[in-house]
């Protein structure tokens, strides 16, 4: 399906994470290749979201390390992750309610803005030019996600499906090399799901972005992802391309609920 998958770009080595007594992740290692669509699946509470939060530094794993393009990170923090070109969407939408769609996406580009506070205050040369250039880039993302008609609406007023798309748009505006998607299709109807799949494939195809996808909908995952990691109760119980994983006995038992 995806022609030019490169070599390993992100490698997680025996990561384990616990909140107080609760063990969210135990000794998980898997890797992600460049330009790949890597899915993480598992029943509710399997530790999928926590895994994502470890990758982009929101949670600090008790042990294990993250190797990003060969650079070792014992402790990733959100800023370093963003700087390294990792951006993400959120399971329950984390948009800035006080701003409209354009401003939300422009905020995504703040790492690329060079002008300092004084220049911005005087709306002077470089600050002005930069602002307009970034606006043009955001318009391309708006055009890509087909949300032209809501570009000036405050985000709080948008229906759920569109808010998800703006969340994706903000992540895209950061021009990431790795995009973490936390259940992008949760709560969507059939038509919206098809659109989201098309977007994800187009992003991967057109911009070559590596995608780490968390999703419940098996049909979608098996259809669009190159390789799948299966988590259950914080442990890795399967890793490989969709068909291998679908066939593996542990995965089937985990999903069909054989008692542990």
């Amino acid at each position: 399906m995806n022609h030019q998958i490169g070599d390993v770009i992100l490698d997680l080595k025996n990561v384990s994470l616990a909140f107080g007594g609760v063990k969210a992740l135990t000794d998980i290692s898997f890797d992600v290749r460049e330009h790949e669509i890597r899915a993480i699946i598992g029943p509710n509470g399997a530790g999928k979201s926590s895994m994502l939060n470890v990758i982009n530094g929101v949670y600090r794993p008790q042990q294990g390390e993250i190797i990003l393009r060969g650079e070792h990170f014992a402790r990733m923090n959100p800023y370093k992750a963003a700087k390294a070109g990792i951006s993400r969407t959120f399971q329950n939408i984390a948009l800035f309610k006080g701003m409209n769609v354009i401003d939300n996406m422009m905020t995504g580009r703040n790492l690329k803005i060079r002008s300092n506070l004084i220049q911005q205050a005087f709306w002077w040369g470089p600050a002005r030019r930069e602002e307009l250039a970034h606006r043009a880039k955001v318009e391309e993302v708006i055009d890509f996600l087909e949300i032209q008609h809501i570009r000036k609406t405050p985000v709080g007023r948008l229906p759920y499906g569109l808010q998800k798309r703006v969340d994706l748009g903000r992540a895209l505006a950061m021009e990431p090399s790795i995009l973490l998607l936390d259940e992008p299709m949760a709560g969507m109807n059939v038509e919206e799901k098809q659109d989201m799949c098309r977007f994800i494939l187009d992003i991967n195809d057109q911009f070559g972005t590596t995608i780490v996808l968390i999703e419940h909908d098996m049909a979608v995952v098996m259809d669009i992802s190159d390789r799948v990691v299966v988590l259950d109760y914080g442990k890795k119980i399967g890793d490989g391309n969709p068909d291998e994983v679908r066939a593996s006995p542990e995965v089937i038992s985990a999903y069909l609920g054989v008692s542990h």
Binding site: A81, T107, L117, L132
Partner: protein, 358 residues
Amino acid sequence: MLYRENGQFKTTYAADQQIFPIAQDRWTILGILLIAFIAIPLLVDEYLFRAILIPFLILSLAAIGVNILVGYCGQITLGAGAFMAVGAYAAYNFHIRIEGLPLLVSILLGGLTSALVGIVFGIPSLRVRGLYLAVATLAAQFFTDWVFLRIPWFTDNSSSGSVSVSNLQVMGWQIDNPVSKYLFCLIFLTIFALLAKNMTRCAIGRQWMAIRDMDVAAEVIGIRPLFAKLSAFAVSSFFVGTAGALWGFIHLASWEPAAFSVDRSFQLLFMVIIGGLGTIMGSLFGAAFIVVLPIVLNQFLPALGGVFGIKISTAGVSHAELIIFGGLIVFFLIKEPHGIARLWSTGKEKLRLWPFPH
């Protein structure tokens, strides 16, 4: 009703992102500026300048500063009075200790000093949030009160702790009569409001608003909360400090620390919340409401009382003033939690959609 928007299409991003994209708004603002700069100096009498217009201009400037911190960056502060005090005393010290320092420079230096102090008192905001932060900023308030009462160096060892400035002039333009004071403050307010508007529509403004709305998400997209919060404190304190310098130099001419007490901080917070959080226009409305209301009540109530035949003593007037003031604040918070600015913008929306319903 007054809007004719047909034909005002935008062919460049610059046009689309200007402060007032609609021509009618631009005309209105131009009209207001003309009235402010030309009509008022000619028509208005001296009492209105000293008692209402000059305090309104200076407190609007301070309110914009507070709005940047509370409205845009979401950090509630009860220490604005302290930063005004720092601005005033710093400007005073620059003014008297360095001979021949132009007035403008000393005021702006006052603002800068206040910005530095603002950063120092902004540091707790990195760990402390919401109401805890508000009370933490009260520490700044009481500390500065104490400093300017106790350390004589700041007040140039004046025995009584009160300081005064006189014969202010900027490049020969004597600022002593009410009209020149009014114009001086108006120039300050216009420039600073423009700066604030530019900042809030640029990257730094978005960072503040991101921190306000959801700081976890902001961090994830690469905004450093440290830089964002402290820059908000710095800019806010710079505005409030400059306003403090103007309040001391221009409005009072001679003042003591009690002029910048904790009541001033509450007053500034009132202005921002009633005027409208997160809007520059809101700060101006708030300032107007809080400055004009007590004076209007003070003059209006006895006349009203007279009409109904009841003689209200001055004490009765000030009690009534207190009650009405508190009552209006509660009324406003219920009717329009987003302040007068929201009423203004809804009104504008209605005019644009006239005759259709909003």
